[in-house]
């Protein structure tokens, strides 16, 4: 079993320093890895990133994150990434990392994602250059996410984004802003690989659970949605076997 802790939209700054720390104290007893679903900061400044590093660094479990739209606001992404990386936090953007969890290889592919909306009510690459650029941005991010997921050499795959890959987990948000909350292209990328779980944030008024058209479980772990320091997901052995033919074959070999 792999135990995944996750939270998004922690929006750290000095006024929030220490708020998550009491709950994080026992994290190594409860989870094998902590995934952060973006919007780590309020404005994406280097000093706010230092607050993130202080709060979520040195936890005793690997910490993997993607950035969110807030983390881009002040155009200090390289500085933010450096502060987080120096604190031992792995920052993903269109790439992946593999973590050994008791001999099981957990692969996490991550990307911020972007908007555009969902099937039947989505933006198209048409018209003004600004509109085309908007849709192309999402398309390029989704393509990198899909490639990262498919190329992962691991036993179980998890997709980590900030924007939502499905409309299910946006329930509670105004319908009018769905195109700014996520894109079906992210869902399509997730469905292009045998993904076990997809985690995202961004939609503070959304809801916890959904699935992609391909049947991948999606969870919105935005802090205001989960209303706890982090959520913990247990991926069972069955799930591990189902997500990798190698493991599945080995397991059935043992049983037979």
């Amino acid at each position: 079993m792999i135990r995944i802790a996750a939270v998004g939209d922690v929006h750290m700054d000095e006024d929030v320093l220490g708020r998550y720390r009491p709950a994080l104290e026992h994290l190594p007893d409860r989870a094998d890895v902590l995934l952060l679903a973006g919007d780590l900061t309020r404005h994406g400044t280097e000093s706010e990133a230092r607050c993130v590093a202080a709060e979520f660094g040195g936890l005793g479990v690997p910490v993997v994150t993607v950035l969110g739209n807030h983390d881009h606001h002040c155009d200090q992404v390289p500085q933010v990434v450096k502060v987080l990386s120096d604190a031992g936090i792995t920052v993903l953007e269109g790439n992946s990392t593999v973590i050994d969890v008791g001999g099981v290889r957990l692969g996490v592919a991550g990307a911020k994602g972007f908007g555009g909306g969902f099937a039947g009510r989505c933006a198209s690459e048409f018209g003004e250059p600004e509109m085309k650029a908007f849709v192309r941005t999402t398309g390029a991010i989704a393509e990198r996410l899909g490639t990262a997921l498919r190329e992962l050499d691991c036993d179980v795959r998890v997709a980590l984004t900030h924007y939502s890959p499905v409309p299910d987990t946006l329930a509670g948000e105004p319908l009018e802003i769905y195109p700014f909350l996520g894109s079906y292209l992210l869902g399509e990328a997730i469905d292009s690989a045998p993904t076990a779980l997809a985690l995202h944030g961004h939609a503070h008024l959304g809801s916890e659970r959904g699935t992609t058209p391909g049947g991948v479980r999606v969870r919105n772990v935005a802090h205001p949605v989960i209303k706890q320091a982090y959520s913990v997901f247990h991926l069972s052995e069955t799930e591990l076997a189902g997500s990798s033919t190698q493991v599945s074959g080995a397991a059935s070999g043992v049983h037979q």
Binding site: V16, Y20, A196, H223, A229, S231, E239
Partner: protein, 90 residues
């Protein structure tokens, strides 16, 4: 008080939009998760933020920009306890 209110321009959609953008774009706030509800002569602010200081700053800012409007602030601070249960994904 009621005489004063009678002369105040009613809250319209433009005011609602202005508050929403103010809360998102103001450098000290940057909150996108606040719902603005117009109720007759009252502007209700709803949602959750990460600290009491952020709630106070939102209220201060909106009051400063709309001094003639009665503001009702029902913004909570998101709880951050350890999870009491896990979700098993079979």
């Amino acid at each position: 008080m009621s005489d004063d209110n009678a002369t105040v321009k009613p809250l319209d959609e433009y005011a609602e939009a202005a508050v929403q953008r103010l809360l998102t774009e103001h450098a000290q706030v940057a909150e996108q998760g606040i719902t603005v509800v117009r109720r007759d002569h009252t502007l209700l602010l709803r949602g959750e933020v990460a600290s009491p200081q952020r709630r106070d700053e939102i209220l201060r800012l909106v009051t400063e920009h709309f001094p003639d409007v009665t503001i009702a602030c029902d913004i909570g601070v998101t709880r951050a306890p350890e999870p009491s249960e896990v979700e098993e994904l079979p």
